[in-house]
C-alpha cells in the first residue's frame, strides 16, 4: 500500500490578473520520482512553490508529509529540501561557507564535507559562488537542498545549464537520492529527463494537469502508436497491409511506406512481409516517445494533409 507524501487538491494561484495555476490536483507517493512536465509558463514552478510553502495558494488544499505548507511552514522546511529554479547565493560567499551555514540550519548534525565530495565540489571548496560554472552552481544548490537529509526533495529545472555529461551525472545522483529513501519531485521541460528518471509524470498544461501516468503509460495512451517504416518498389501490391491486425493507418510517400498501428503490430507486419515475399532491408520501427505525448497533449492537432 503506497502512501501519498504530497497531496494537492484543486490548487489555484493568480498573480494579479495572470492565472498561473488554474486547477491542479495530484498525489506523489512515497519513494517515487515524480515528474512535473510542461512547457514554460504552464504553472509547474508556481505549483511546486505553493507546495514548498514559498507562495500562498489562492484556493485549494495542499498537504506535504501531512503538513500544511502555508501554516506549518517551519516544521515542513525541516523535512523537505528545495532546489529552486531562480535562486542565487551572494557572489562572494565561498562554497564551504554556504554548506556550513545551511548545515547549521538542519535539525540534525550534518557532515557537509561528505556532501562536498559526493557532488564533486571538493576542489571548489574555497571558491566564490560567482566564480563557479553554471553546472557547479547547480550542483551546489542540490547539495544544499539535500543538506538536511530531507524526506521529500523538490528539484526545479535541475539540469538547466548543465552539459550532457553533467546531466547524466545529475540523473544518477537523483536516483541515488531516491534509493536512500527520499521522495523526489522533479520539475522539468526536458522530455528525455522525464522519460529516463521519472516513475510517474504529470503533464501540466495551461495551469491544469492534462495527464498523469508512468512515462510508458502516457506513451501507450497518447503517443499515437508505433510507426513501421520501410521501402517497397513502385507497383508492389501492398493492399494486404490494411488487413493486418492492429494496423490503423497506411501511408505511402513515394517508395516509402509508413504503417501506423498499436501493440504487436510490428510482428504481424514482419510476418506479412515474409509471406508476400518482401524483404525490405530498411525496415525500421519508430516507437513514440514522451515528446510525441507532450506535443499531442499540449498542441492542437495539425490539420490533416490533403
Amino acid at each position: 500500500m503506497m502512501t501519498a507524501v504530497v497531496e494537492v487538491e484543486h490548487l489555484r494561484k493568480a498573480y494579479g490578473s495572470v492565472l498561473a495555476v488554474e486547477d491542479v490536483s495530484l498525489e506523489v507517493e512515497q519513494g517515487e520520482i515524480f515528474g512535473l512536465l510542461g512547457p514554460n509558463g504552464a504553472g509547474k514552478t508556481t505549483t511546486v512553490e505553493c507546495v514548498e510553502g514559498l507562495r500562498r495558494p489562492d484556493q485549494g488544499r495542499i498537504r506535504v508529509l501531512g503538513l500544511d505548507p502555508a501554516r506549518q511552514t517551519r516544521e515542513l522546511r525541516q523535512r523537505i529540501g528545495c532546489q529552486l529554479q531562480q535562486a542565487a547565493l551572494p557572489d562572494r560567499i565561498k562554497v564551504w561557507e554556504a554548506l556550513d551555514l545551511f548545515a547549521s540550519l538542519a535539525p540534525q548534525e550534518v557532515h557537509w564535507s561528505a556532501t562536498l565530495d559526493q557532488w564533486g565540489l571538493d576542489t571548489k571548496r574555497g571558491a566564490a559562488f560567482s566564480s563557479l560554472s553554471g553546472g557547479e552552481q547547480q550542483r551546489l544548490f542540490v547539495a544544499l537542498a539535500l543538506g538536511n537529509q530531507p524526506q521529500v526533495v523538490f528539484l526545479d529545472e535541475l539540469t538547466q545549464g548543465l552539459d550532457p555529461a553533467a546531466r547524466r551525472v545529475a540523473w544518477d545522483l537523483v536516483r541515488a537520492v531516491r534509493d536512500r529513501g527520499a521522495t523526489v519531485v522533479l520539475v522539468t521541460h526536458f522530455m528525455d529527463e522525464a522519460q529516463q528518471l521519472c516513475d510517474r509524470v504529470a503533464v501540466v498544461h495551461r495551469g491544469r494537469v492534462a495527464a498523469v501516468d508512468t512515462p510508458q503509460g502516457l506513451i501507450n495512451r497518447h503517443g499515437g502508436g508505433v510507426r513501421v517504416v520501410f521501402s517497397a518498389p513502385a507497383g508492389a501490391d501492398v493492399g494486404w497491409l490494411d488487413r493486418i491486425p492492429h494496423v490503423s493507418r497506411v501511408a505511402r510517400h513515394g517508395p516509402r511506406l509508413e504503417v501506423t498501428g498499436e501493440g504487436p503490430v510490428l510482428a504481424h507486419i514482419g510476418a506479412g512481409l515474409i509471406a508476400h515475399g518482401m524483404e525490405p532491408a530498411d525496415l525500421r520501427v519508430e516507437q513514440p516517445t514522451l515528446e510525441d505525448v507532450f506535443l499531442h497533449i499540449t498542441q492542437p492537432p495539425a490539420p490533416e494533409p490533403i
Binding site: 522546511r77 529552486l84 535562486a87 547565493l89 551555514l101 547549521s104 540550519l105
Partner: protein, 247 residues
C-alpha cells in the same frame, strides 16, 4: 531560527561585507579621507561659526555622522536589494531562514562596522588634530546609536522601494551627497544662506550631525534631534517591513 545559526549567518554577513570593496571603501575609508581634508583646511578656523569648537575638532566629530549615513545609504541598500533581486532571499527562505533573520544579521553587521569605523576615524585623527573628549559621552553614544537606527531604517526603505540593485545603489548615492552637503558636516550651517538653512531642516543627516555635536560640544542632549531620528526610524522601518512582506 536558532541562535547558533543566526550567529553563523551574522558572521558570514560580516565576511561578505568585508569582501565588498564599495561598502568597505565608503564606510571605513571615505569618511576618514573627507575628515582629513576638510579638518586640515579649517584647522586654524573655529569659534562661533563652528559652534564654539575648533575647526578640526568640528569636522572630526561631524564626520562620525558621515560614517552613519554612508553605511546606511550607500553600503546597505544595494546589498539588501541584491538579495531580493537575485533570489538569494528565496534561497534562504526555502531553507528555514526567514527574511527578517537575514535582515537582522545585516543590520547587526552594519552596527558593528559603524562602531569600528567611528573608532577608526577618532583614532587616526588623534595624532594629527586636537579634539576634546565629549562634554557628555553618554549623550554622544545615545546620539550615535539613535542616528544609526534612523539611517539604517532609511536604507532599508530605499532597498524596499527600489527593488533592483542598481536602482537602490543609485538612489542611495543621489540622496547621500546632497544630504551631506547641507547637513553641517560639510560647510557649517552658520555659513549656509538662510533659504538653504530652511532646506537643511528637512535633511535627516542634519539631525544625525547635531545629535553628535550637541552633547559633544556642551549643548546637552537635544530632544528634537532624537525625536526626529526615531520618527524616521519608525516610519521607514514600518514602511520597509510592509514592502518586504509583500515580496
Amino acid at each position: 531560527m536558532r541562535p547558533a545559526a543566526f550567529a553563523k549567518l551574522t558572521w558570514l554577513e560580516m565576511k561578505l561585507f568585508l569582501r565588498e570593496p564599495l561598502a568597505v571603501g565608503f564606510t571605513l575609508a571615505y569618511p576618514v579621507v573627507v575628515m582629513f581634508v576638510i579638518a586640515g583646511v579649517f584647522e586654524n578656523s573655529g569659534g562661533a561659526g563652528f559652534r564654539g569648537a575648533g575647526g578640526a575638532e568640528y569636522y572630526v566629530v561631524s564626520n562620525i555622522a558621515v560614517v552613519t549615513a554612508a553605511m546606511s545609504l550607500i553600503a546597505l541598500p544595494p546589498h539588501v536589494a541584491s538579495y531580493f533581486e537575485r533570489g538569494i532571499m528565496r534561497r534562504f527562505r526555502a531553507s528555514s531562514v526567514p527574511v527578517a533573520g537575514v535582515i537582522a544579521a545585516q543590520l547587526a553587521v552594519c552596527f558593528a562596522v559603524a562602531i569600528v569605523a567611528a573608532a577608526v576615524l577618532l583614532a587616526v585623527a588623534r595624532p594629527v588634530y586636537t579634539y576634546h573628549v565629549p562634554d557628555s559621552l553618554p549623550g554622544v553614544i545615545l546620539g550615535f546609536v539613535v542616528g544609526l537606527i534612523g539611517f539604517l531604517a532609511l536604507g532599508l526603505l530605499i532597498a524596499a522601494l527600489f527593488p533592483t540593485t542598481r536602482s537602490a545603489q543609485s538612489v542611495g548615492m543621489v540622496l547621500f551627497f546632497p544630504m551631506y552637503l547641507i547637513s553641517g558636516a560639510a560647510p557649517p550651517l552658520s555659513v549656509l544662506p538662510s533659504a538653504m538653512r530652511h532646506v537643511a531642516d528637512f535633511d535627516p543627516m542634519n539631525y544625525a550631525v547635531r545629535a553628535l555635536q550637541d552633547p559633544w560640544f556642551g549643548f546637552g542632549v537635544t530632544a528634537t534631534n532624537l525625536v526626529v531620528l526615531l520618527g524616521i526610524a519608525i516610519v521607514s522601518g514600518a514602511g520597509a517591513a510592509l514592502l518586504f512582506r509583500r515580496r
